[in-house]
């Protein structure tokens, strides 16, 4: 069969919707258009019933009780609601939050915002493999600490944090544990009870569901956790998030969660084989380096730096045919290369030279083979054009050169 281009390998940015999800959603745009809060007629009842069912599907995926699911517009909103909501609700207990430098901006910028409102935030550095240093985490806890916010799986490097160990530390010190589960939920087993999670943000569009719908899990027992609403209004979602429910989105989220639950094990096994094939082949190239921990990570993600070629120039070699993202940001929107890679201690040169691969449900082996060839060819071609590669080959230490910074 002929390979269809372009190939999509940016599944950590967003996933395509599964056609089964779309099919489930469609009636809720037309025939079943009711407002789930309309208690007095069949249109409302149908919508409410659909939402209840989807809430169960979503809760099932993460081992939660349906009442613990607060629907939001996505993970960004859930990150905001979880962290700001705890800061407000537990203000009398303390004002200290612990997070880490490789979090998504939705967490980091929320914490920065809270600092302006009087929060004290510790941004833990990660180890060179992207993992949290558990001893440093425990040491950072003070009498004022109310929340630990550490992500489950990283969006750029796929590193999965030791969530059980983190929650045990949180529990021991009577601190709440929030995790951004956006990249992990639906991809690897996440169980809020076994993992000891108190709050978790996640989103449908990273698990083959629609964009614009996500959830915050808020634990109701041992301990009972509450967040202050950040969106006031009609008192929806147990008053924690007002706003008419996005019924088709929620229905799609539910279906997506159900499919993930049923197919996760097989999908993860299949994707990790493809990912390893891709990764091993690309690491065969001279001077290419894996970023992040090799074992503790999501099965569908890899991040590789190709030293002496620049990421954006590299992407240009194949981005008509392969959709990927790069850690380079030499596009003046932000002149900084990926802060996640820099947090691992990578020099700017290696950070500029990185590619992130996110495989997904619809990735095939043919696509992986095509990608291996296209990237290897482009790396080799660009290195022939790279003055840095030439210097490296001549044994010149690049650090010995006085570069003209601008």
């Amino acid at each position: 069969m002929e390979l269809k281009l372009p190939i999509y390998l940016d599944n950590n940015a967003t996933t395509p919707m599964d056609p089964r999800v779309l099919e489930t959603m469609l009636p809720y745009f037309t025939d079943n258009f009711g407002n789930a809060a309309s208690r007095n007629h069949p249109f409302g009842w149908a919508a409410e019933e659909a939402v209840d069912y989807a809430r169960e599907q979503v809760a099932n995926l993460i081992g939660a009780d349906p009442k613990e699911i607060i629907f939001t517009s996505g993970a960004t909103e859930a990150d905001n609601l979880g962290i700001k909501g705890i800061f407000e609700m537990y203000a009398s207990k303390g004002n200290h939050i612990i997070t880490c430098t490789t979090e998504h901006k939705a967490v980091l910028d929320t914490c920065k915002h809270l600092e302006k409102l009087g929060a004290q935030v510790t941004y833990l550095e990660v180890l060179p493999d992207g993992m949290i240093d558990l001893a440093a985490l425990e040491n950072a806890i003070t009498d004022n600490t109310i929340l630990i916010a550490i992500m489950y799986g990283n969006n750029e490097i796929g590193v999965v944090q030791p969530v059980k160990e983190i929650s045990a530390i949180a529990r021991k010190h009577n601190v709440l544990f929030f995790t951004d589960g956006t990249q992990a939920v639906g991809k690897i087993p996440v169980d809020v009870i076994a993992d000891g999670i108190d709050l978790m943000a996640f989103t449908a569009h990273k698990m083959y569901g629609p964009k614009g719908i996500g959830a915050l899990y808020v634990r109701r027992k041992n301990p009972r956790v509450k967040v202050t609403a950040q969106m006031d209004g009609g008192g929806h979602e147990r008053s924690m998030r007002s706003g008419t429910l996005n019924v088709p989105g929620i229905v799609g989220f539910g279906k997506a969660a159900e499919i993930c639950k049923n197919e996760m094990a097989a999908e993860a096994a299949r994707l990790s084989i493809l990912r390893d094939k891709l990764e091993n082949a690309l690491l065969q190239l001279e001077e290419s380096y894996l970023n992040g921990h090799k074992e503790n990570r999501l099965p569908h993600t890899t991040n590789i730096s190709f030293k002496y070629v620049e990421g954006e120039g590299l992407l240009m070699g194949f981005n008509k045919n392969i959709a990927l993202s790069s850690g380079s940001a030499c596009t003046s929107a932000s002149l900084e290369p990926s802060y996640v890679l820099k947090a691992l201690g990578l020099g700017d040169d290696l950070a500029h030279s990185s590619l992130r691969f996110g495989l997904g449900r619809f990735t095939t082996e043919d696509q992986v083979d095509y990608t291996i060839k296209a990237i290897s060819d482009t790396v080799n071609k660009l290195r022939e054009m790279s003055p840095l590669w030439e210097m490296f080959k001549e044994g010149i230490d690049l650090n010995s050169i006085e570069w003209a910074h601008h």
Binding site: D348, D349, L388, W403, H406
Partner: protein, 135 residues
């Protein structure tokens, strides 16, 4: 971001990639940019007895626009006198390649590389360096 046809063409078929013997007196080498900034350009000119640039080569670590800017610059340099070469302005490159505003710095780098190569040639041949490039 979509690239212009011309950028894509230079990127896919770069002109004058290579290395000249930098120890020779009639070869000027300009190395500008920095690996940490994500762009390094090396541009070299070879000048004949009449003071005309007889050959030009580049190697660039950078985005597609930086590669295209340096490829174009080497094409323009060949056959020019040093004085004509000095007059090449980065905005000429921007115009020729249709570079969007965020890519202007790639063309600036090419202009800087030209000036640096000329200066290297001048200094090697006992001439004073030009004034600092304007960037």
């Amino acid at each position: 971001m979509a690239y212009s046809e011309k950028v894509i063409d230079h990127y896919s078929n770069p002109k004058n990639v290579g290395t000249l013997d930098k120890s020779k007196n009639n070869v000027g080498t300009g190395l500008v940019g920095a690996p940490e900034c994500g762009d390094v350009m090396r541009l070299q000119i070879e000048v004949n007895e009449e003071g005309v640039i007889s050959d030009a080569k580049f190697k660039t670590f950078g985005c597609g626009s930086a590669i295209a800017s340096s490829s174009l610059a080497t094409e323009w340099l060949k056959g020019k006198s040093i004085d004509e070469a000095i007059a090449i302005d980065n905005m000429d490159i921007v115009e020729e390649l249709n570079l969007p505003p965020v890519k202007i710095h790639c063309s600036v780098l090419a202009e800087d590389a030209i000036k640096a190569a000329i200066n290297d040639y001048r200094v090697k041949n006992g001439l004073p360096a030009l004034e600092e490039a304007k960037h």
